[in-house]
Amino acid sequence: MRLARILALALLAALFVYPLARLLALPLLQGSDVGPCLPALANSAFFALLVGCIAAPLGAILAQALETLDGAVLRLLGLGLWLLFLTPGYVLTTGWLVIMSHPAIRDGLFGQVFLGPTGLVFLYLMKSLPFAVFVARATFAAAGAQLGEAALVLGLTRWRRWLLRLRLALPAMAAAFTIAAIETMQEFGIPATLGLTAKIPILTYAIYQRLNTTPTDFAGAAALCWWLIGSAAVLALLQAAVQRRHQAALVHGRARQAMRAKPAALARMSLAGVASLLWGLGLGAPLLALIIVALGGPMDADGLDAVPRSLFYGMLAATLALGTGAFVLKLQQGRSLWFTGAVQGLLAANMAVPGLILGAGYVIAFNNDLLPLYGTVLLLIIAYAAGALPIAIRLLGTALGQLDAKLDEAARIFALPRVTRLIDIEAALLARPGLQAWLLVVAAVMFELPISELLYVPGAMPLGVAIVSADMMASYAVAARLALLGLATLAGLALLLNGALRLSAAPRPRQVS
């Protein structure tokens, strides 16, 4: 058994650690003339921290509302968040560009404010908020009624009760903060499309510069990536510290489900406000712009095969990422903190670097006679999974941490067969957060751009490349149509699977005793 575990670890390291490690080793081996670009680093760090600080509590509040409250506003909010997380950043930003091409809007106050740091922060936030909410939801999903009721009985004021709940959510908030901050730090598409990279230099821009010069300066880009990784490491350490201090198991074998209540008037108004903002500015405006563009132009079915292709790529990559994530988490249980830290650190590096660097690492690592995986769909899937692995582990880890360990101990003591334990107990208990994590990765991979560009097999164009390619050939209608079709497919898949889960987990009707 131990041998199998070691082999599995070796395979993991070869597939998910070695490629990036090799690329990152370039500046250390070759030397590089690139300095730290302090203003860029400072800007990147500032935006990351700012977005993280907004996303963490906002995400926690929204998550709690979604888990414990009921009503039309809540359903709208939940749906809005889902759609937001299925929609890729560059699609939203392109929609905004279309809006901004109207002089009236651009010259107005809104346009002026939007085309600056404020708009940038807003778009960063829109992109990372769904992550934050989903990570936080796992904390509240099975919180017993007792914790809230204890607060009520003890006569705490409403404000204090909120604060108490917030404190209980600290570990989830820390995870949300880290995800939002790291995502923001390595995000390039949004600021580039907004055209702000000149006015507000950021670290990823410096990296892209290195990659876009000829000859491509991989060593220089990798050197700058070390700064990204360093920042991500600091953030991850912070999160680990918070997690350790504040982790509290909330899913018990005996918890009663909290009754969902209708939100109070003030809460309802503020939630409605947030929902409107999300739907209106976050989703509605850019999507509407895209729909208008999509309807113009000739209607042909060219290149639509990119949608199912990327959908299947996404499913494979998501399954690989989540499977690997679950394996790594199991491995971590009962191991020392060093092991956990090392694994998390290695995988966080995959998340901290921009997709282009990760992709380049895979090309360089596997494009030789020894490991001729380059040019295969397999390598593309592996690279996708590598990029998604840190998020998958984080989401699964938070969900796992909330489970009562006794549930699994009972399964062990009653000698349930391994398969039963895995499927009927562990997987079943993690089904909801697991499905959300899976869908999230499918969405991210479906519209993924930089890794796709570098690694796709000629003749099998993924969706992101097809959209950008159509844009470049000024077939804006085709591009918009592809984007919308992809979104619709994703939404359909999400609805289907969530519905199936709800049906299979529905409690059977009460019998009269």
Binding site: G253, Q257, E409, A410, R412, F414, A415, T420, R508, S513
Partner: protein, 350 residues
């Protein structure tokens, strides 16, 4: 005859603290062992060692003659020990019905699983709840399902980790009774961790009390009743008191100075210094020809009897007794049965 459970010199250190130090236990077939002790005494750790959820640092653990854990090369993990366990917070799988919870625990190869599961639920009186989810049940009902589940596994040894402590008194009593009947009827060897004395009286064939990682006293419940080995055990078995007592040694025996007289107590005198005095609730009764003078301070009604507090000259704190009638306040004469008094040195030894 093979013992159901045998533990020799088991030790366990957690977080730098020696939680268990040299535990020796033996449990015969079909018997029920109650592990008692305060929180932090190590009882749950010991249970986890028996269950195979944790490894011992030293010592040996055998179940039905087979070596489970010798703190060296041999370690049989939990899934292969053939045990059943009932948890304090039930640990029923929340996403399955009660029937499924029980059915899943049945050994592989059992025919007609659902029927077998239903039979077990019937035995515990909760067959009607079979299709419901645990979250829809009360605590007592959930624990009945938990017991049914543990029995489903046809365990060689049944482990219970404070199974009744989350329940209210009335439910506790009912469930205790149900447990006793079931276990005795099926003849299953049982280890039950509890800090409730009622569990000892109702269920135990043998009691082992853990204090600070060692077994302070073990034996049949009546043995512990008759001669508790420590203040905790005395209190556990229902003794009153725990007051400092002025002790002198007379002729190799301890003598309590009361009302200007000396009351000789059985057993050897405490080693040094001060002593703590405990007594049974019927050790002191008013008698016209009683040896000592005492003043009845107060009498409070306690479910059918009266708790009377007596001030006796010579003792800083009052003695107490449970009487069927309420004595009028004021001076009385009392008789004290020295056989029902227990003396412990301040360090806790008898």
């Amino acid at each position: 005859m093979t013992l159901s459970l045998r533990i020799e010199k088991a030790c366990r250190t957690l977080g730098g603290r020696a939680v268990l130090r040299g535990i020796d236990l033996a449990l015969a077939e079909g018997q029920c062992l109650v592990l008692a002790g305060e929180s932090g005494s190590g009882k749950t750790t010991l249970l986890r060692l028996i269950a195979g959820l944790d490894r011992a640092d030293a010592g040996r653990i055998e179940i039905k003659g087979a070596m489970m854990d010798d703190a060296a090369r041999i370690f049989v993990p939990a899934e292969r020990r053939g045990l059943g366990m009932v948890f304090q917070d039930f640990a029923l799988w929340p996403h399955m019905s009660c029937l499924e919870n029980v059915a899943l625990a049945l050994p592989a190869g059992t025919a007609k699983r659902n029927d077998a599961a239903r039979t077990l639920l019937e035995r515990l009186g909760v067959a009607a709840l079979a299709p419901r989810r645990p979250a829809q049940l009360s605590g007592g009902q959930q624990q009945r399902v938990g017991i049914a589940r543990a029995l489903a596994a046809r365990p060689r040894l049944l482990l219970l980790d404070e199974p009744l402590s989350s329940l209210d008194l009335a439910t506790r009593a009912h469930l205790r009774e149900a447990l006793r009947e079931t276990v005795q009827e099926l003849g299953i060897s049982t280890v039950l961790v509890s800090h409730d004395p009622e569990d000892c009286w109702a269920l135990a064939d043998q009691v082992a009390v853990l204090e600070e990682g060692v077994i302070r006293q073990s034996g049949a419940p009546e043995t512990l009743w008759a001669a508790p080995a420590s203040p905790y055990i005395a209190r556990f078995t229902g003794a009153l008191g725990g007051i400092p007592a002025p002790i002198s040694v007379q002729g190799g025996r301890a003598a309590l100075a009361l009302d200007g007289q000396a009351l000789l107590l059985p057993g050897s005198p405490p080693a040094s210094g001060g002593a703590k005095l405990f007594w049974r609730d019927d050790a002191i009764r008013p008698a016209p020809d009683g040896q000592f003078a005492a003043e009845a301070l107060s009498a409070s009604f306690q479910a059918g009897r009266f708790l009377v507090r007596w001030r006796v000259p010579g003792l800083a704190q009052p003695l107490s007794a449970l009487l069927t009638t309420k004595p009028p306040p004021g001076p009385h004469r009392i008789a004290i049965d020295p056989g029902k008094m227990f003396l412990f040195s301040d360090s806790g030894d008898a």
